[in-house]
């Protein structure tokens, strides 16, 4: 039909009366790296959840690789890998088991799978901890394992929702280098969110800015900076949204997340 690998049209999500995502449309070309930026509570995660079949849109449509995510769920699920914003590992399993089970669920053949697991675990520097239970891992180690897992089945599209949260600067760099490399080598499409402006600036070919559920700007980092007469992308973001990209005050979304986190540590 067309050559966009992600095609979003008039996408809306309401939670009761609250409109979290409000009639957004955009397309992503195969092989593109797109940063999806917005302040806390803007609707980024809600959008990604609709793109990845976890939430059913209230209205509008999403097509991944030309398959509709609502009517062709299994097909679309095959096309992407994802790193969720919130934790999603099985703490009672070992690191290796988490990857192994993922590979089996995605139908990756055994001999390919085991090689791939080793390669990815070495890349995220967890190979020597492969038989440790995930509950003994630090936050950063868990994050790295989730990134490895998302790539295990060679997805065509890789969604990353704040993938670098909890990672030290060196690891963040390392991870982005790998992802960009993968994008060049295998032409994987990357769609990510982040609250680190320098990641968007360095990695993204295009930025989509969302605020209050509406897309308010789209363009290359340079274009956005020029359009708003700003010196830096950070300043441009501030002008668009009225928020610094890393809101230091505790927003309701953060408070909610902290509460959920507390639950988890029971």
């Amino acid at each position: 039909m067309n050559n966009s690998i992600i095609d979003v049209k008039h996408l809306t999500k309401k939670f009761k009366d609250f409109v979290a995502v409000n009639d957004i449309s955009f397309a992503v070309t195969k092989g593109e790296i797109v940063a999806f930026l917005g302040p806390n509570g803007a609707g980024k995660t809600t959008t990604i959840k609709m793109l990845t079949t976890l939430l059913v849109p209230t209205s509008g449509s999403v097509r991944l690789s030309n398959s509709d995510v609502v009517s062709h769920q299994e097909e679309t699920r095959r096309t992407f890998g994802i790193v969720f914003q919130d934790p999603s590992l099985d703490d009672e399993l070992t690191a290796w088991e988490n990857l192994e089970y993922h590979g089996v669920l995605y139908g990756v053949e055994k001999n390919i799978r085991h090689g791939r697991i080793e390669e990815l675990m070495k890349f995220v520097e967890l190979w020597d901890r492969k038989n440790a239970l995930v509950k003994t891992f630090s936050g950063g180690m868990k994050r790295r394992l989730e990134i490895a897992r998302g790539l295990l089945h060679h997805p065509k599209i890789f969604f990353l929702d704040e993938p670098t949260i909890g990672l030290d600067p060196q690891t963040r760099n390392h991870m982005w280098n790998y992802v960009v490399n993968l994008n060049k080598k295998e032409n994987i499409t990357i769609f990510f969110t982040t609250h680190y402006i320098e990641e968007a600036e360095k990695v993204a070919q295009r930025i989509i800015v969302i605020d209050h559920g509406k897309i308010i700007a789209t363009g290359t980092p340079k274009e956005l900076t020029i359009k708003t007469n700003s010196k830096t992308l950070e300043e441009a973001f501030l002008k668009y949204t009225g928020h610094a990209i890393r809101d230091e005050s505790v927003s309701s979304a953060d408070a909610m997340r902290a509460r959920r986190g507390m639950w988890r540590h029971h």
């Binding site: 976890l54 299994e74 992407f80 969720f84 919130d86 999603s88 099985d90 669920l105 139908g107 988890r264």
Partner: protein
């Protein structure tokens, strides 16, 4: 198929790694077996009903299977809260496979518990007529385990928190257990109670196991088998549907 296998394996591993769960859930069945078995045994025998331990053991095994199977539904809620459910739900596998994998996993765990209770009951003097009888009883144990794991899982797929699940389980488990003929013969019950027992799926599991072990069956083994199988399939189908509706 491999998705079902891997979901099964995951549950089994998690179970084997939590020894406190294994030991903890044996307390109740053993207590019932000892207290009721030795407490009511003499009276039961005097009333000409035969050996009470022989009668009671299938009921107690069914009870431990019921508890473990229903409660394994709580793992869905854990997975929801710890986040692993997202990983399962975005995987390119049918919701039916997910439901079956989880059910077979939970049912296997319930069968292990049931087997341990069987083993303990040997110490209390229980003897099956033959090894073949015991194997036959396992068929009914399996069906019971599948049915109630599917039920617990289906219920849990609609719930967000443990308290709600616990509440529903407390509400369900006692009536299911006490009105199943696990502890007393159904034949001598008043008509209304007999009807209640007849609509309780656990009754067919207890009856099937008891019959398979050489005891008297109330419904007949083929009825037991048919009712358990049909109900298990229906609940699995409902559960698959509910899984396809989960949003996170």
């Amino acid at each position: 198929m491999s998705a079902i296998y891997i979901l099964w394996l995951r549950q089994l591993k998690r179970y084997l790694r939590s020894r406190s769960r294994i030991i903890g859930s044996l307390g109740q069945p053993v207590l019932f077996l000892v207290a009721l078995g030795f407490g009511f045994g003499p009276t039961f025998q005097k009333a000409g009903q035969g050996n009470y331990i022989q009668f009671l053991v299938p009921g107690i095994v069914a009870m431990s299977v019921l508890f473990t199977a229903l409660f394994s539904g709580i793992e869905i809620i854990w997975d929801r809260q710890f986040g692993f459910l997202k990983e399962i739900l975005v995987a390119p596998v049918s919701r039916m496979e997910i439901m079956i994998g989880r059910t077979i996993g939970g049912a296997t765990v319930a069968m292990i518990q049931g087997t341990i209770v069987f083993a303990i009951s040997f110490l209390a003097g229980f003897r099956p007529p033959s090894a073949g009888n015991l194997a036959f009883a396992f068929v009914f144990m399996f069906l019971t385990a599948v049915l109630f794991t599917a039920l617990g899982t289906a219920i849990a797929s609609k719930l967000e928190d443990m308290q709600g699940f616990q509440l529903i389980m407390n509400f369900l488990i006692m009536p299911l257990f006490f009105l199943s003929g696990a502890l007393f013969p159904v034949d001598s019950l008043p008509g209304v109670l007999k009807m209640v027992v007849a609509i309780n799926p656990l009754s067919y599991g207890v009856d099937g196991m008891r019959g398979a072990l050489g005891g008297i069956t109330h419904f007949g083994l083929s009825t037991d088998f048919a009712v358990l199988s049909i109900m298990a399939v229906v609940i699995l189908a409902v559960g698959s549907y509910l899984f396809s509706k989960i949003q996170l």
